[in-house]
Symmetry: C2
Subunit: 406 residues, 2 copies
């Protein structure tokens, strides 16, 4: 008898009809002879509504402990509604809130990390043959305060439960039906992947594909939990996110991703002295502004140019912060460019195949697409280009690496 | 420094504006030099909305454990919103859910009884000078399942907390501004009472006045917690519900109440044998149908008539149940009458004053109001009359016992 953890996102539990659909899926899996633990998000839009209330009540400065206790109610509603539905359909089900499981986290409200999951109560219910329904996104700290895990929190809850329970698989039901070689909305020849490795999935997430939150994939990798990504609205096969195997390594590039939400900042003619980069980036990290790519050219006559990319939404604050620092450190000036995007190719096979980068650059060059920045990891190559070429670049790379062919 | 428990009902926390009003009241009491524990209901209408969802999901037959965990979310929203508001206004506040306090109850879901309240966490917060905001209506059983206390539950939570914390007073803020000598909507000369005893309040509740739930009054009486009933929308003085004193005993009648939600059932010409009444009323209690007044006339030639009243909403089921039983026990027939109501006079002074009943009957007779049934307790006399005379009877009794005069 297999133990399956299933996780359904907000659009899959958006109303009672959809919760009924989820119940049907759960029952089908149960009747297939499996033990079931189901993790739910809040109804689509509900968490945002609660966040709105919190901000109104606190004039935009919510106490984080109260904020978390408020927004955690969304999941409490969906888990009890699913349990009610399952019970009505003749399948005994029990809902669990974080304090009932318990799911222990640290005290970092709004972005808590799971420290430990007690499985005793859940295992007792499973032994009775009951379906266990657990509220995602929430935890409790050592003082029994309610915490929440931040964006992607319910995926993380599901993987943590699967790890703690040594589940056979963690199925993540979402509104896309798997992981694709590239965005099917942009490129009609995109194919769904049967399998993808944890590392590839992580690079895809950081490169702009939003199927799974990176935290959940990291956790799955750490505890070797296979994740099966699947649509909750169709019966199509999904994509298995799992550890690398030989088959995967034979494929050089398994996906092309893009990210339009990038802006480029260049600090021009910076004195090439120790501590300059630290000074610049500490200014940003102190304000919690994530920096993605960083490029520093080789210095010419003790001066260098320093480029980096940030999220478009952070641009205004970056301008405010970087201007003064740049003049402080004796830079000539700062250039800002919002008309860029990042395209990336990803594949574990890159490690053992030479010439992938040059193949990528040549393909872009052939279409007259200028490369503004380059960054690479072991299994990823990213290029910043002018944003008007995004679609073209994606299609060209998709074809170049044979992703349009089975 | 006094310790005050304040409880606000659903209409007092119906939206963010009203929650802000509550915050202002709390702050005023706090700045008056008091320690504050605030108990809240869910936003008006929210519990009913959640009950609706539960019934839809379960097709009207909700699992009681899941039902309770669902409907308890309403209070979780209001307590965190009040805490957020208070914190924003510079008054450190902490919300507590039942599992955090903890408020221990028995396992009777939907109508759980409070067994014990742990006060350690709350006292720790109070010592720090913080305002404590507690979710009403909810508890946890020994297995940490969420329970709810049923109608009037938040009043009961507040009184239980006040008792456990040995609070100086439990203030209940509601949409009426105190306890009146009779319904001011029916009788313009109704006066607000400054003080009323627990027993009178209990009799008033059972006789149809809906200011406080009887369970909370019983609990307050048991632990001698003074309850101060007050409007959350005005600054008018309210009514203190407290233990009897000499002043109260000097007043013969302190209130006139009425209840239109009654229907009368008469089982006619019943053989006067042991076990007949038991047979009849067990049939009803087995279906959880509460019976209010029961009258059995002295038997004539081994036959008697047996009358009782039930709530109008239960009439259909009573007819279905009683018909067969009546023929079984050899009764001649059953008469049903929905055109009745009950008027009652209440006062602890009755105990030491003779002739109150006859004064009541005479006053009704003088207006040509026929009395259909009579029932009395130590401090209450109730008469069932034709419902068209309700208003007249209330006004006459109010005047007869001098309640329109200070």
């Amino acid at each position: 008898m297999a133990l399956i953890v299933q996780k359904y996102g907000g659009t899959s539990v958006a109303n009672l009809d959809k919760i009924r659909n989820v119940a049907d899926r759960v029952i089908r899996a149960k009747e297939g002879g499996n033990n079931l633990v189901v993790v739910l998000s809040a109804m689509a839009g509900e968490t945002d509504r609660l966040i709105g209330l919190a901000n109104q009540a606190s004039e935009g400065k919510p106490d984080d402990r109260e904020y978390d206790a408020l927004i955690a109610t969304g999941e409490q509603v969906t888990v009890t509604l699913l349990a009610l539905t399952l019970n009505r359909l003749g399948h005994k089900a029990r809902s669990f809130l974080a304090h009932q499981v318990k799911i222990h986290t640290d005290r970092a409200h709004m972005k808590a990390r799971i420290l430990k999951v007690d499985t005793r109560e859940i295992e007792r219910e499973l032994k009775k043959g009951h379906v266990v329904v657990v509220a995602g996104f929430q935890g409790v700290d050592t003082e029994n305060h309610v915490t929440t895990l931040g964006r992607g929190g319910s995926d993380t809850s599901a993987v943590a439960l699967a790890a703690a329970l040594k589940a056979d698989v963690c199925e993540i039901y979402t509104d896309v039906d798997g992981v694709y070689t590239t965005d099917p909305n942009l490129c009609r020849s995109a194919r769904k992947l049967v399998k993808v490795s944890y590392d590839e999935m992580l690079e895809m997430a950081s490169a702009g594909a939003k199927v799974l939150h990176p935290r959940s994939v990291e956790l799955a990798k750490k505890y070797d939990v296979p994740i099966y990504v699947k649509s909750s609205f169709t019966d199509d096969e999904g994509t298995l996110v799992t550890k690398e195997d030989e088959e995967m390594e034979a494929v050089v590039v398994s996906g092309v991703t893009y990210d339009r939400d990038q802006a480029k900042v260049t600090v021009v003619h910076v004195p090439d002295r120790p501590g300059i980069a630290a000074r610049l980036f500490t200014t940003l990290s102190d304000r919690n502004i994530p920096v993605d790519m960083i490029i520093q050219n080789a210095s010419v006559e003790a001066f260098t140019d320093l480029s980096f990319t940030v999220s478009k939404k952070d641009m205004r604050e970056v301008e405010r912060l970087i201007g003064p620092v740049a003049s402080d450190i004796g830079a000539q000036g700062v250039q800002y460019d919002q008309n860029i995007s990042k395209v990336s190719i990803i594949g574990v096979g890159m490690r053992s195949h030479a010439g992938v980068a040059s193949q990528m650059f040549a393909a872009l060059a052939k279409e007259g697409i200028n490369i503004l920045m380059i960054s690479t990891s072991e299994i990823k190559i990213s290029c910043v280009i002018e944003s008007k070429y995004t679609e073209l670049a994606v299609m060209v790379l998709h074809e170049t690496f044979g992703l349009d062919r089975k």
